[in-house]
């Protein structure tokens, strides 16, 4: 025991360079060796799946007149695979091969039944997206590919094709003194739209590639008029949405089809639903086309647009909310348990660089939550959709890529929420305070904004600025400017685009993590 006599000690353990991966592995070992935390992650997954399946099993729909119940007809699908509205009046004839259609529109008018405030009169007027113009369509059947050039109620001339695509032409309306010339030229799958004020100088609106056109297509005049949709605040919070029947009529005093035509002009009420016919159509003015002295008047109702009315895929993962709370609790405990026991000091002895230690913890808890969400979504989305189909409920179809984004999004949502919760735990060092803060930041704004209790502006604001913005990643249907709809959080439409919403949540998580690291660096532990 004499001082300094022995040679300094040399360890015989194999040397290993320090790597961040070591810290990550250590944190993962910590996580998996506490049974309660693993159980929590599994419970979050099972809870999300179970609630999704309960939601699916509890949804039924059937149609039919009187006592006879039948399965509801599936909505037509557009060329992109999405559900579409495709109802309008079509005066058409066959065009074989390339050609063009030109028409002069001299008047457009319509009726709106029982609008506010009195809801007691039928008034004349056009809804903003009433449509009248020329169309080339693969067949006079709902969902068939098409391109059209049209004048709208309040958005001027447009060229639209295949339900989702919309290009603006010149604004303005139409009158006897200011007619609108519309022209659509077909060359194979390429359709080009033109407009003119005088029929001599034409301006091109746009060109559309319409896949799925056969050599013979239907060409002609069409009119559609979507329902008059209004939203007003409800007395008990939320909004009241109403849609009223409308009808539009357009007067064309010139019509010419170039190319090889075949057969006579036909009148088709595309997508007609006899059962849905209103008294107005039955007793006052039916949809149709009438010709008198070279002037054709076409009357129609309905819309040609993507369909937003129906069950959205992401309804199946709304059951993730309880699972999200479980994830938050586990993520908070993952760090606060160490503070409670003083184990954090051992952790800091093993990894003295505070930022790296927190990053390793965040990575582990985030990855576990991401996996929980991903597995839950991968199970509940296909299984829930199968159950819904069995129950006769139509789920609005979305592309595979969108499905994948919703599934991945649920994982990312849980993962980032877990990182945020963990960081709050490291900041507060108290389980209850951190859990309450994380729920108040992520879950509460979402519930308030979507439960129809807040004014809509406030709901939009909450889902744009708080960490709950991350829920936007679950939105499966986009907003369409050319569809009048109640684009509100309660209807599954978020103020931010999906990835932007997720980025807001990620920003909060990063901020909290940075603050926690900064606080840990400057303090005694």
């Amino acid at each position: 025991m004499s001082a300094g006599a022995a040679a300094p000690y040399r360890s015989r353990l194999p040397a290993a360079r320090e790597r961040f991966a070591h810290l990550v592995r250590a944190e993962w070992t910590k996580f998996r060796t506490v049974r309660g935390w693993v159980a929590g992650a599994v419970a979050a997954t099972l809870l999300t799946v179970a609630l999704g399946l309960v939601i699916a099993a509890g949804s039924h729909s059937s149609c039919g007149a009187g006592p006879v119940e039948t399965a509801c007809p599936a909505p037509p699908l557009g060329p992109g695979g999405q559900a579409v509205e495709d109802r309008f009046f079509f005066l058409h004839r066959r065009l074989e091969g390339d050609g063009a259609i030109t028409a002069r529109l001299t008047a457009m008018s319509g009726v709106i039944t029982y609008p506010p405030p009195g809801h007691d009169r039928i008034v004349s007027g056009l809804v903003p997206w009433a449509k009248a113009g020329v169309m080339v369509k693969a067949a006079a059947r709902p969902g068939a590919p098409y391109a059209a050039v049209m004048l709208t109620g309040r958005h001027g001339v447009r060229m639209q094709h295949d339900f989702t695509e919309d290009v603006a032409g010149r604004p303005g309306g139409v009158s006897q003194h200011a007619p609108r010339w519309l022209r659509l030229v077909r060359a194979g799958d390429t359709l080009t739209g033109y407009e003119s004020a005088d029929g001599r100088s034409w301006s091109r609106i746009g060109t559309a590639q319409v896949a799925g056109l056969t050599a013979a297509v239907e060409v002609g005049l069409f009119v559609a008029s979507p329902g008059d949709l209004t939203v007003k605040p409800g007395s008990a919070g939320g909004s009241i949405v109403q849609a009223r029947f409308t009808q539009a009529s357009a007067v064309f005093d010139h019509l010419a089809v170039e190319g090889r035509t075949a057969g006579a002009w036909q009148r088709t009420e595309v997508g007609d639903d006899e059962a849905a016919m209103t008294d107005w159509e039955r007793f006052h003015r039916a949809n149709g086309a009438a010709e008198s002295g070279g002037v054709i008047t076409v009357t129609g109702t309905g819309d040609i647009a993507p369909r937003l009315d129906g069950l959205r895929t992401e309804m199946l993962v709304t059951g993730a909310l309880p699972g999200l709370i479980v994830v938050i609790v586990v993520a908070v405990l993952f760090v606060t348990a160490e503070y409670r026991r003083g184990l954090i000091r051992t952790t800091l002895l093993a990894g003295p660089r505070r930022g790296r230690m927190l990053a390793a913890k965040a990575l582990v808890v985030g990855a576990v939550a991401l996996l929980a969400g991903l597995v839950a979504a991968a199970v509940v989305l296909p299984a829930g959709q199968a159950i819904l189909r069995g129950n006769g409920v139509v789920v609005l179809p979305v592309p595979q890529l969108t499905q994948a984004r919703v599934a991945l999004g649920l994982g990312a949502l849980l993962g980032l929420a877990a990182v945020l919760a963990m960081a709050l735990g490291a900041l507060f060092r108290r389980s209850v305070a951190a859990v309450v803060a994380a729920i108040a930041a992520v879950v509460l704004p979402y519930v308030l904004a979507t439960a129809s209790v807040l004014p809509e502006e406030l709901a939009q604001w909450l889902l744009g600025l708080t960490p709950a913005a991350g829920f936007a990643i679950l939105q499966s249907l986009p907003r369409y400017p050319q569809v009048t709809w109640h684009y509100a959080p309660a209807e599954g439409f978020y103020p931010l685009p999906p990835w932007a919403g997720l980025a807001v949540l990620a920003g909060y998580a990063a901020l909290a993590l940075g603050l926690a690291a900064w606080r840990l660096r400057g303090r005694d532990t």
């Binding site: 070591h22 910590k30 093993a350």
Partner: protein, 309 residues
């Protein structure tokens, strides 16, 4: 890496309280350095600063010449036992060591080695919450040894150990030092350090009161004192006190006398015909030597013997 701990001029305040007031010492390899001092002397604060858990207001603490926070795979440089109760109760002993091993890139086999070394192999799969205090101490020592470090720093390692455990750990500390490691051990039980520590750093009021070899310290504390064994204790005390000696009764038939030399004491007692059976130079215990040193520095005298730190 040099197997040392160098503490230089550490100062630290907690509000109005000066916890450290210029603490300086060096722990050298090849021996056990005892770190002792009364409550509030700053032992635990110093140890926390050494491993970068607390920040000093002034001064430096280096492990092998470098600040702890800058070490790569730090558990391979310094193994520390600070708080044996700092465990996740639902995690098993083995898993506690496993995550620590992973954090340093150590193989899982090393966990089994240290479990064997501290005699916990049988309890490896028990949850930490169900371990006795003694077992937790052993687990904490296992964690400190995991990286096979050249420097060890143990805060009150004797706490909670049964007599057998105390014998074991003293043997372990001795053999670790003999391998050339630097070992710093804090304790409030001087008797535990008596036969194992080669060097002693005595702290009081946030600074070092004594930094000395144990043998030298005891020799100094013993100097000029004589132990007298007598059946007539009262008479002997009276006689010696009259002669100007400082006399303390240390047992039913023993006295410790300072002042006169042993020959003079024999002379005095014989002259007064006071019977005695032994007069010998006194060898102070480490505890006595320590008490001597810290007499002026004890803030909480009443707490000293009972409290853990």
């Amino acid at each position: 890496m040099e197997a040392t701990i160098e503490v230089k001029g550490l100062r630290k305040r907690y509000g109005p309280v000066k916890a450290l007031d210029g603490m300086s010492f060096t722990v050298t390899p090849g021996q056990v350095t005892g770190f002792v001092g009364p409550n509030g002397a700053g032992k635990s604060t110093t140890m926390r600063i050494i491993v970068g858990l607390d920040a000093a207001d002034e001064g430096s603490a280096l492990v092998g010449g470098r600040p702890y926070r800058s070490l790569r795979s730090p558990l391979r440089h310094l193994g520390a036992l600070l708080d044996a109760a700092a465990l996740q109760p639902s995690r098993t002993a083995r898993h506690h060591l496993l995550w620590l091993a992973h954090s340093q890139g150590l193989p899982a086999a090393r966990v089994e080695e240290v479990l064997e070394l501290v005699g916990l192999a049988g309890a490896a799969r028990r949850r930490a919450g169900g371990l006795s205090l003694g077992m937790r101490q052993r687990l904490g020592i296992a964690a400190a040894l995991l990286g096979d470090p050249p420097v060890l720093m143990l805060d009150e390692p004797f706490n909670g150990l049964d007599p057998e455990g105390i014998v074991w750990i003293r043997g372990l500390l001795g053999s670790l030092a003999a391998e050339g490691r630097a070992v710093l051990v804090s304790s409030h039980l001087m008797s535990q350090l008596q036969d194992v520590a080669g060097h002693l750093v005595v702290a009081g009021r946030g600074r070092v009161v004594a930094d000395t070899g144990v043998a030298q310290l005891i020799a100094e504390a013993s100097r000029g004192r004589v132990r007298v064994r007598t059946a007539a204790r009262e008479e002997a005390m009276a006689v010696l006190a009259r002669a100007g000696a400082a006399v303390a009764a240390t047992g039913p038939d023993t006295l410790t006398v300072s002042g006169p030399a042993a020959e003079r004491i024999v002379e005095l007692l014989t002259a007064q015909a006071v019977p005695f059976s032994e007069v010998a130079a006194h060898r102070a215990s480490l505890e006595e030597a320590y008490m001597e040193l810290t007499r002026d520095c004890v803030d909480y005298t009443g707490d000293y013997s009972g409290a853990a730190r």
